[in-house]
Amino acid sequence: MGILNKLDISVEQFESGNIIITSMDKLLNWSRLSSMWQMFFGLACCAIEMMATSASHYDLDRFGIIPRPSPRHVDIILISGTVTLKMATRIKRLYDEMPAPKYILSMGSCANCGGPYWEHGYHVLKGIDRVIPVDVYVPGCPPRPEALLEGLIKLQDKIRNQSLAKHTA
């Protein structure tokens, strides 16, 4: 059960050398990075740019990213916008409901650290990383679609260099 859990150890044991595991590693990582299904989920202004990114001009589908509404089917959650305290608990819950290899991309200033609302925003969570672990921060307010794509490519790089099963979960 959960070979990926256990292989974690074996990778360390064999360290550099076990070709099967490394190439397996590569395949698995490749598959994870090129089929990141995204949670159909937007928060604020950044969500509009996220939508624009998935629309024809920038086409997230090229990266194998398709929106799925249910958290059970998704791999990545794009926190696109201002996270308020009221919403934070819900996001945490949604994040919890995602199955294991899962990634978070924080998009825009608000999700990074409260953005323009960091000073006086009594109801804004100052950074989504206070609630859930973040893999990549994309700056911008809102980030251009290209910037989001660049963030996703960064995330792909991160996954590519992962060893088996050492994902954030």
């Binding site: 990926l4 598959s31 089929s35 194998g64 398709i66 799925r68 509404p69 059970r72 089917h73």
Partner: protein, 351 residues
């Protein structure tokens, strides 16, 4: 049995076990590339490109999707009913796959040529209803339950127009064997049942009836496979993802697989009934095009065209509401098919 594998391998148990394998392989390949195709078709219709980062044309995309899905954690929610939650995907996929048994891929390759073929197909595919209901109920999620219920109501009521419009062909052909349907329609495009089937010139009167029947059959199979505009069961804008909501990883993939498998299965049936099955459209004019290998090609081409039409519709139309769906069935499809049935009966008696 007329099966090519029996001829090659002889009549032993191994052969019989091997017969379904090509079909299974085809289902898998088809499902993988239909998903990709769907994404590509939608992309083209929307002036996009579609998956192309994995390789130049994104051909590996869905394979990688599957590899990824294998790595996903399988979650069974606490509140779910564990046993039936697990069983449901089996039933859904098996019911669909068993339907493939009677699809005549060519004159020599068919899973099994039951003489009750068509009847069997309708019966066995309706089994998936139970699986969906099980999944919806066992997830213990309101959206799932709603989705499950809707699917059942939808599939169950559309079974009637499906069967009734298929009966038109059965009446003309006088058989239920899928292989015979295909055989009867030999001799070129004009002998397909959508153009009235083989017969003398008087069959012209049949053509409108048959076209209407074919369209109705297509529409109701569309509804049975839960495709847009009838995809109420997983309507994202209302029910989030319907019965699939709580399924993750491979279990979800099975539902997905079943959906696409069913798309091809019903297209295959429509093809066999109305579009001449594996018959070449040129009939015997070009005998070369009617060899078994080409037959497979024709069958796949026709079915895939129907699958394409399904996708085309999906990316064009909004979705209907549940009561409109039901009204459409009871108010439009069933009366029209009944009238069709009557007219064809009259035609047969009069000729």
């Amino acid at each position: 049995m007329g099966n090519i594998l029996t001829q090659w391998l002889g009549d032993n148990l191994l052969t019989y076990i091997l017969i379904p394998v090509p079909v299974l392989v085809w289902v898998l390949v088809f499902a993988l590339y239909a998903v990709l195709g769907e994404r590509k078709v939608s992309a083209w219709m929307q002036n996009r490109i579609g998956p192309n980062r994995t390789d130049k044309f994104g051909l590996l995309q869905t394979i990688l999707d599957v590899v990824k899905l294998i790595q996903k954690e399988l979650i069974i929610p606490n509140r779910a009913d564990r046993l039936y939650f697990r069983i449901a995907p089996y039933i859904v996929f098996t019911a669909t796959f068993m339907g493939y048994a009677i699809l005549p891929f060519s004159s020599v390759y068919i899973g099994v040529d039951l003489n009750l073929g068509l009847f069997y197909f309708f019966a066995i595919t309706s089994l998936s209803v139970i699986g969906v209901l099980m999944a919806g109920w066992a997830s213990n999620n309101k959206y799932s339950l709603f989705g499950g219920m809707r699917t059942v109501a939808q599939i169950v009521s559309y079974e009637i127009p499906t069967a009734l419009s298929a009966l038109v062909v059965v009446m003309l052909a006088g058989t239920l064997s899928m292989q015979k349907f295909a055989e009867i329609q030999s001799g070129g495009i004009l002998n397909w049942y959508i153009f009235g089937g083989p017969g003398s010139v008087i069959k012209i009167v049949l053509i409108p009836i048959m076209v209407v029947s074919a369209v109705i059959l297509f529409i109701s199979t569309l509804a049975e496979t839960n495709r847009t505009p009838f995809d109420l069961t997983e309507a994202d804008s209302e029910l989030v993802a319907g019965v699939h909501i709580e399924y993750s990883g491979m279990m979800f993939a099975m539902f997905f697989l079943a959906e696409y498998a069913q798309m091809f299965a019903v297209s295959g049936v429509v093809t066999t009934l109305f579009l001449g099955g594996w018959q070449s459209p040129f009939g015997d004019l070009v005998p070369f095009l009617n060899t078994p290998v080409f037959q497979v090609f024709w069958f796949l081409a026709k079915s895939l065209f129907l699958v394409f039409v399904m996708m085309w519709l999906r990316w064009t139309l909004p979705r209907v509401r549940i009561d409109q769906l039901m009204t459409m069935c009871w108010k439009f499809l069933i009366p029209i098919t009944l009238v069709n049935l009557f007219l064809v009966g009259l035609y047969i008696i009069l000729t």
